[in-house]
């Protein structure tokens, strides 16, 4: 019954279709023309919509991106808090202290693609002022200019291109709670001066630095280079100093560098002139999870400095530091250091130190440190004990 009804309905529809008027060719052509026009209009609208969408997305992306001003002006910083628990070898004193050793802010500004400013302002030991242990220090503030494709010049207050940690010393970039004593007591890191410098590239992987700048002022009664840092604070400028460095980095993971500095009078015109020459060389090698750092530094002063401290005309230091990263977060290191600020004396005045410890990177830029130090100095004056540190940079 249902089949019969269906056949009847189909039959009626076919009959109606047959009776409908078939359009003429002209009418068909007109229809096609109308449809073509409509398609063209729709295409145009689609194109317009695409342009609008593109413009909207671009605007959204621009707004969501870092604003232009802040792309030109950059901020960063680092900091490190230390805990030292040390005891002198002769048990006459201890050092049991916790200290926010360094709190540093970086500010930079890119004036153009080839002219930039960079600065580093530091608060040392948390609290500065009369009777307080800390200092507020301007460690870097210079203008840098890319003069040519292979030559960059800078002027202002900048870090000396000497050693491994003087220019790069964010706590997450080195092992050990405290910076190594060789670069601290011989070079002396962290060391900055005011003047002008150029950095050039001779060929890929071979570069040089030349700088003319303010010099050390080691006053009468003092003999260590570290005592001569004026920190560009109304510094005596009777005598300038000159520094040069050559650096080889053509092999990935390998850095070999040597620095040289000369100053004709570290007394800055007071009393007998004492000239000083520093030579420093180091190698830093990274291979897979293994890293090795080794450095040698030597100051040669005029014999006249011996009237202040016998044997101070030669001051030397070296360290070797192998390390191994067990994984991305955990690294082990050992460092053997030896330094002597009166190396030319007949008596034994060398200080040696063995450090072993770990760095644990909670994040690539956040590190916890733990190390044990065993220091030997003449007269049982060395300090042994443990150091704990927390450091960050951004």
């Amino acid at each position: 019954m249902n089949k019969k009804l269906l056949a009847l309905v189909i039959g009626l529809n076919l009959s109606a279709a047959a009776q409908a008027e078939t359009p003429s060719l002209e009418k068909m052509w007109q229809l096609i023309q109308d449809q073509q026009q409509e398609i063209a209009e729709l295409k145009g609208q689609l194109q317009e919509t695409d342009i609008k969408t593109e413009a909207t997305i671009s605007a959204v992306e621009r707004f969501s991106a870092t604003p232009t001003a802040s792309k030109k002006t950059t901020f960063g910083g680092y900091g490190e808090v230390h805990y030292n628990n040390l005891e002198k070898d002769d048990s006459s004193s201890t050092k049991d202290a916790i200290d926010f050793h360094r709190f540093v802010m970086f500010t930079g500004h890119q004036f153009t693609d080839s002219i930039r400013f960079f600065s580093e302002l530091e608060v040392e030991h948390s609290l500065s002022g009369n009777g307080h242990p800390g200092e507020v220090e301007l460690e870097q503030a210079y203008i840098e200019w890319d003069a040519t494709e292979n030559l960059t010049a800078k002027a202002g207050l900048f870090l000396m291109p000497i050693g491994v940690i003087n220019e790069t010393h964010e706590p997450n970039t080195f092992y050990g709670t405290e910076r190594n004593n060789v670069e601290k007591n011989i070079i002396p890191a962290t060391w900055w001066e005011a003047g002008a410098a150029i950095n050039g590239e001779i060929t890929e992987g071979l570069s040089y630095d030349l700088a003319a700048h303010s010099g050390l002022y080691i006053p009468e009664g003092k003999h260590k280079p570290r005592d001569g840092r004026q920190k560009v604070a109304q510094a005596k400028a009777d005598d300038m100093a000159f520094t040069g460095r050559i650096k080889y980095t053509a092999i990935p993971g390998l850095e070999i560098a040597a620095s040289f500095q000369h100053q004709s009078d570290v007394r800055q015109g007071e009393g007998v002139a004492i000239d000083g020459t520093l030579f420093e060389a180091h190698v830093a090698w990274i291979r897979d999870n293994f890293q090795l750092r080794a450095l040698y530094a030597q100051w040669d002063f005029d014999d006249a400095i011996n009237t202040t401290k016998m044997g101070a005309d030669e001051q030397t230091g070296m360290y070797i530091e192998p390390s191994f990263k067990l994984n991305e977060k955990l690294g082990l290191f050992a460092r053997y250091s030896a330094w002597d600020n009166t190396a030319a004396s007949n008596t034994d005045s060398e200080i040696t130190q063995l450090d072993v410890g770990i760095n644990y990177w909670l994040h690539p830029n956040v590190v916890f440190k733990f190390d044990y130090q065993n220091q030997d100095a003449p007269g049982e004056k060395g300090y042994d004990g443990v150091n704990l540190g927390l450091g960050y940079s951004f």
């Binding site: 950059t74 890119q110 890319d146 292979n150 997450n172 990935p252």
Partner: protein
């Protein structure tokens, strides 16, 4: 510090110190035939993984790239210490075929642009947890620049996998 990862491939870079090659020149150098200019839309899923790779949220809505057959070329930016490094990465069949530093703006650490350094990335692929499967020897004093290149290389591999695994784009 965030950075914008979408770099126009149509705006040529000024060749000066620190600027080594423009985007269009890099693309022209990479492909013998005219590649297709495409866009990868950054879906929530892609954003989430890109965030893990970069260690920070990715900005922008999409990433432009070029493709011919199984090869894709990406021009991405990542900040080293302070300034963005512009990096060109070519990926063929889920392995890095080329890494080139197109612009380096930091004061120190420019050694990452040396061909001896960038050659280390050749053949690198992604591990299951979106890391490079090859060890890259770093540069003393330029740790942040090395990290930036590592992250961009891994990101390009990840993006490549997205566009060649039928998550198609236009």
């Amino acid at each position: 510090m965030g950075s914008v990862l979408l770099t126009s491939l149509t705006s040529p870079l000024v060749i000066a110190k620190g600027f080594f090659q423009s985007g269009p020149d890099f693309i022209a150098e990479v492909f013998q035939q005219q590649p297709n200019a495409k866009v990868l839309w950054l879906t929530d899923d892609i954003r989430e993984n890109a965030k893990v790779i970069l260690g920070r949220p990715v900005k922008g809505l999409r990433v432009r790239y070029h493709q011919f057959d199984l090869t894709t070329a990406w021009i991405l930016e990542e900040i080293g210490k302070e300034m963005p490094i512009t990096i060109g990465v070519v990926v063929t069949d889920n392995e890095i075929a080329r890494v080139k530093i197109l612009a380096y703006r930091e004061s120190r650490g420019g050694e990452v642009r040396y061909s001896a350094y960038t050659k280390q990335y050749l053949g690198a692929a992604l591990t299951d947890n979106n890391r490079l499967d090859q060890s890259i020897d770093g540069i003393t004093g330029a740790t942040l620049s090395v990290w930036a290149v590592n992250k961009v290389a891994a990101l390009a591999l990840y993006y490549h996998a997205q566009v060649t695994q039928s998550r198609d784009s236009t």
